[in-house]
Symmetry: C2
Subunit: 428 residues, 2 copies
Amino acid sequence: MTIVTDAKNGKITEEMKIVAKEEGKDPEFIRRGIAAGRIVIPMTPYRDIRICGIGEGLRTKVNASIGASSDIVDEEMEVKKAKAAEAAGADTLMELGTGGDFLGIRKKVCDAISLPVGSVPLYQAFITAAKRDGSIVHMTEDDLWHATEEQAKLGTNFMAIHTGINNIVLDRLKAHGRFGGLCSRGGAFMSTWMLHNQKENPLFADFDYLCEILKEHEVTLSTGNGMRAGAIHDATDRAQIQELIINSECAQKAHDKYDLQVIVEGPGHVPLDEVEMNVKLMKSMSGGKPFYMLGPLVSDIGAGRDHIVTAIGAATSAAAGCDFLCYVTPAEHLALPNLEDVVEGVKTSRIAAHVGDMVKNKESRNWDLAMGRARRDLDWEKMFGLCLDEELAREIRSSRAPEDEDACTMCGDFCALKIVNKSYNLAK
Amino acid sequence: MTIVTDAKNGKITEEMKIVAKEEGKDPEFIRRGIAAGRIVIPMTPYRDIRICGIGEGLRTKVNASIGASSDIVDEEMEVKKAKAAEAAGADTLMELGTGGDFLGIRKKVCDAISLPVGSVPLYQAFITAAKRDGSIVHMTEDDLWHATEEQAKLGTNFMAIHTGINNIVLDRLKAHGRFGGLCSRGGAFMSTWMLHNQKENPLFADFDYLCEILKEHEVTLSTGNGMRAGAIHDATDRAQIQELIINSECAQKAHDKYDLQVIVEGPGHVPLDEVEMNVKLMKSMSGGKPFYMLGPLVSDIGAGRDHIVTAIGAATSAAAGCDFLCYVTPAEHLALPNLEDVVEGVKTSRIAAHVGDMVKNKESRNWDLAMGRARRDLDWEKMFGLCLDEELAREIRSSRAPEDEDACTMCGDFCALKIVNKSYNLAK
């Protein structure tokens, strides 16, 4: 019994009601979405969380990822970053740490926030093997199942699991080659393991067993995008699309046979003119599953401002139907994000999500309408209250010494709005 | 005789050759573009500048606007901002100051940089009248012509001139109303003047005389977008499109009859799903004139990060065929931009311009390809050299203390690229 079973049986659960209320939808709309696999509400029996729906017809959601790899981990800082991400408006948090006592840290992070938490259990499996036997190639199937169970019991709501990297996909990858290689850590681990051991990916070969574990712990499956391009020139190549096909088959089986909630992950680095196509292709392949886009970064040359590069792709992606955006921070491609980077990443993704929502659902524009009117009326307190980042807006206004108490920016004494408001009445 | 006359006569000038070389085009391509009005090279006989082509088939260009309105102006800071904009990669600079000795400041700015400079002469005309006679409504036609000539002689390369706000447009504006009013200072000044004096806009009524002045001083006409929306809900309304029609007629006359170079200005605040349409509409109305987009801002709620809101719109706009982007800084809607805001605005617009160019001209992606390969090879010096903002990228990498000398970001010891590079050869 999962929430999908309930939904298929026509039962509206408490979680569905909460999401319906938050999104201004009918509970029946949510139930149908979950029954059909178009909506998920990542659950866990092990932890109380803020209920959050992801999928078609709902507001675009934002994920923040944190986690350090080195064994010298500042545990307190990880908790601080998680809290900062929640405060900045993230809807979910992925904790991807693999350094130090990473399970202990994850526990602390889960305790510190109320967001649904995601993880990538195969990191644990591979790193356990590397530490135990000297190389990731010595990972065993049991390492995978053990990591999945252990992390589920920590109260993990959704897991990125690389089910789609099978031998068919690797053949495509080898034949096609790559300009930028592989940028997915899970993809790199698993494909290396498969090549070395000449074995099929256990997450694909034993997919039914994986589903049973996930079902037992009510974990939402997020099919990992191990073949995503890490360079614009590899975008939408045959390896990526082959993996999408396999992932979509897995997603269907997980939902139809095991009543699992499923998200499908997507790229990556994608040029602007391929973003919409990627969203539509994914929706078509997967039968409308919630789409979780990692970025996308629409250029490779913006390091230092890759959150902005991503905002362009993410807004376009959300407008085209993407449901769930993974943030990218200013530190992307350069270093681990610090606390400020995490906040900047979340706030920037929130802008992209809203811009996408303005296209998906015109009612989202009421927020903009209220701001437009407040600006027309030069009502500064109202404007600040309507800003996505009120604190930042107030700080800029006070630190940049505006020329006029009323005026908005460049015009000073000759503010266009003041002049027109006095001249004639256009207001509506 | 202007460069358009030369182009129409089949003559390839020195400026055309420079632009051709910079853009990797045949000089004949540039000549034909100028003859047909699809390309401009903003000129001035009064000042040596870096030659810059704007229009169809060329790289997307970025303008930075500076200028204070208050009479307490920090002249040195204005010059610093202009130099910073040039250093950050702006292609042109608009100096919009109306405070203090604004002509003196403009002269200093023009002397300090080699960029083509733009201005809005009607500000001077209206503010002269306000200071002289107590109100902008007392502006005379001669104030307009005088300001235009005086600013042309300072070495101004292009001027935003609000030719399109005529009585037909104001009727549309009054009938339609506005949620957010008017945000264009020129639009507010001129429409107020017209309503008060019950007279037609002299820039429209005496358009031929205006063209003669511009021709004498070889100024490029940028038809101003006084009716642009300052709020998402006013985007693409009847007043804006009516003004575009009138501006397009003026643009055609200026080019066909007076051999002027002409740019057409566009909005403003535009929701993401109307950006491409606005570009295509403008190109269709104007017969393919270079399109200069002010933003566009795709949401109203992002104050403090409106450079990011704009990057989303500007990239989409450039991809759809927009030729020239006016930057927006983090201070937009809040205060005058400081030095850091100017740099951030330019760098962000450069990202948007490149993302658009990647769609307009696939060869632009070679830059991304080089970066993709440098990343695959973990060649950090090459990566830094390829960054749009090398300084920022180096600063982030050194200040955020990466976990591993080779590794790029989150993976540390378990860097995906390192693992895959060792495992098998995918490189192409």
